[in-house]
């Protein structure tokens, strides 16, 4: 009897998980609760702490800017993640067979993912610089353009930003697809070959379904990751020209630290969280139902 009770209330596992539990409660749950509290206030964080209920949330939906930046963010995320998926798949397939030199190529192809966001943003800002950028120099040499262009101040800014973010992030998807491809047993391919399946059929009917769970996880993480991305956008275009590249992270940061509407910024962040959560739920549902 005593032995049984002792087993039932074993403290040891709780001691093992205590550090993580306490740290997460203090460093994630508490700030999130604090953000929710701020989101119902009109505050400058020092002297003004007025309760306004859901006014901040309502004003976000009434004010066109935030809705517009949400749409920009969706567009940005779709383009970037699609780019990662295409580039990642093509490169992973090319590196799937054991050929001499493949591991060296793999190392090189992971480098962009290792570089700091700050470095990537500034490097491309320099490459696309209006007066001294090498992109202009090369286009001029080949006679594609007649005079220097301020690329990041034109309507091209969004596309350039997306391309830079695709360049920075495709490696995560690539690495995951490579791992997935390696888990596909070789004999399935041989069987398909014997049955007379062509390359495309083999790819879409065998490879894709087998590695789908792997891709699904990576794509969901990637989507949530780029939906909330901040650094490259901030440093490369800072939301400009106009608002054309102003994603929600940029809008929220400006709302808080330029206009000092901390309550509205907190409410906006809450909406971003809900959207991220919905995206991952919906994507999970779609990918599971296709099985």
């Amino acid at each position: 009897m005593t032995n049984k009770t002792k087993n039932r209330f074993n403290m040891t596992p709780y001691l093992f998980i205590a550090p993580v539990f306490i740290l997460l409660a203090a460093l994630v749950v508490y700030p999130i609760c604090y953000a929710l509290y701020l989101s119902v206030l009109d505050t400058n964080l020092t002297t003004r702490w007025d309760f306004v209920g859901l006014k901040n949330y309502i004003s976000i939906f009434k004010n066109g800017n935030m809705v517009k930046s949400l749409l920009t963010t969706f567009e940005f995320t779709v383009v970037v993640v699609a780019g990662h998926l295409v580039l990642g798949t093509v490169l992973a397939l090319a590196m799937n067979k054991k050929r001499p030199g493949v591991s060296a190529f793999r190392t090189i192809l992971i480098i962009p993912w290792l570089l700091p966001d700050v470095v990537v943003a500034l490097l491309y800002k320099w490459i696309f610089n209006a007066n001294y950028g090498v992109f202009n120099t090369i286009l001029l040499r080949f006679g594609i353009i007649q005079k220097n262009q301020a690329w990041l101040s034109t309507s091209m800014a969004f596309i350039i930003l997306a391309v830079v973010c695709i360049w920075k992030g495709y490696a995560l998807i690539m690495v995951n697809i490579m791992a997935g491809l390696q888990s596909v047993p070789e004999d399935i391919y041989e069987a398909a070959d014997l049955d007379g399946a062509n390359k495309w059929q083999t790819f879409f009917k065998i490879t894709v379904p087998t590695i789908k769970p792997v891709i699904a996880t990576a794509v969901i993480l990637d989507t949530v990751w780029w939906f909330k991305h901040y650094t490259i956008i901030k440093l490369l275009t800072d939301g400009g020209p106009g608002n054309t590249t102003s994603t929600v992270s940029i809008s929220i940061q400006k709302e808080a630290f330029t206009y000092h509407n901390y309550g509205t910024a907190a409410a906006g962040a809450g909406i971003v969280f809900i959207v991220c959560w919905l995206i991952s739920k919906i994507m999970r549902r779609i990918m599971d139902s296709n099985e």
Binding site: T12, P13, Y14, F16, I17, V20, L23, L24, L27, P31, I32, Y34, A35, L45, V90, A94, M95, K97, G101, V102, F105, T107, I108, L109, I110, I111, L115, P116, V118, V119, L122, L123, W126, I127, N129, N131, Y132, N136, T137, L140, N148, W167, N176, P213, V214, T217, K228, Y230, T231, K234, L235, S249, Q253, A256, F257, A266, A269, F273, W277, S280
Partner: protein, 284 residues
């Protein structure tokens, strides 16, 4: 007949090989050219940087930028700040997540499922959501505008993913080993330290690299939470070189190279366990 078929299969295989190499080489160029441009810029002198549509290759390579970033910009301090904050955040996360990985896979206890989904949930919060509350909270507790404060923020994002990785790793280690150790009279903590910890070392390495890269590269919190010039991290200091009236692109690219190379070198040495760790959660 069969010979003919074989030769067509062989030709098909060669074509595929050529295509694969073509794609890999194109991919490698796409990666290398921009980085090469970073290196080329870093060894150009000031006059050459500001030459409109000048020569692409450096006419007279110089190392002045690499000297200036230490002499004129105090990058020793900035890299030091980055290193301290990053190392502490990584160490705390590793210790805590190794304990959790062990606890969550070796025991059955009430609330285990809830605890695991709690860890997963905390990874989903967008960092922008934590920005405004941390801005206020850190100053409430006297950590505003300080390196320990930034460290606290970094721990809040290293813990969730390190824990998740370590739980995944401990799952791959058979529990029989623990039972055997218990029969031999080892205590729980001995088993944890002497038996399982050495076995999950690849998991610890990949968690550590991942956490290191995340903290070393972080910009948003460091730029907004720290306003004291002496406390800047390397990422913020490099980004601020962009704010001057006349941007010293060569110095900036030199600093960028210096900030990136340690990551690439660390990665090359540890890439095997790193890649297996990155994909461990996905492939089961």
């Amino acid at each position: 007949m069969s010979k003919k078929k074989n030769s067509s299969v062989a030709r098909h295989k060669t074509a595929q090989g050529i295509l694969s190499y073509f794609i890999m080489i194109a991919g490698a160029c796409m990666v290398i050219f921009p980085i090469l441009w970073m290196a080329i810029t870093a060894v150009k002198d000031d006059a050459e940087i500001y030459q409109m549509n000048g020569a692409i290759l450096p006419q007279a390579p110089v190392a002045t930028s690499f000297i200036r970033i230490w002499r004129d910009y105090d990058f020793i301090r900035y890299f030091g700040n980055s290193l301290i904050v990053t190392l502490i955040a990584v160490l705390v996360a590793l210790v805590a997540s190794a304990l959790t990985g062990y606890g969550a896979t070796r025991f059955n206890f009430r609330g285990k499922k809830t605890f695991l989904s709690f860890i997963l949930m905390t990874q989903m919060f967008p960092s922008i959501m934590l920005l405004v509350p941390y801005y206020k909270i850190l100053s409430i507790y006297g950590l505003g505008n300080s390196l320990p404060g930034l460290c606290v923020v970094y721990i809040s994002f290293t813990i969730p993913f390190c824990s998740w990785m370590m739980v995944g790793y401990y799952r791959t280690i058979p529990v029989d080993l623990d039972e055997q150790a218990a029969i031999d009279g080892a205590s729980r903590i001995q088993t944890f330290l002497k038996i399982t910890l050495p076995l999950v070392r690849p998991g610890l390495v990949s968690s550590a690299i991942y956490a290191f890269i995340t903290c070393w590269n972080e910009y948003m919190f460091a730029a907004i939470l720290l306003t004291n010039d002496k406390l800047k991290t390397a990422a913020v200091a490099i980004a601020e070189m962009n704010g001057y009236y006349r941007i010293a692109w060569n110095d900036m690219m030199a600093a960028s190279l210096v900030a990136s190379v340690p990551l690439i070198v660390a990665f090359i040495f540890m890439q095997k366990s790193f890649i297996s760790g990155l994909t461990a959660g996905a492939v089961k």
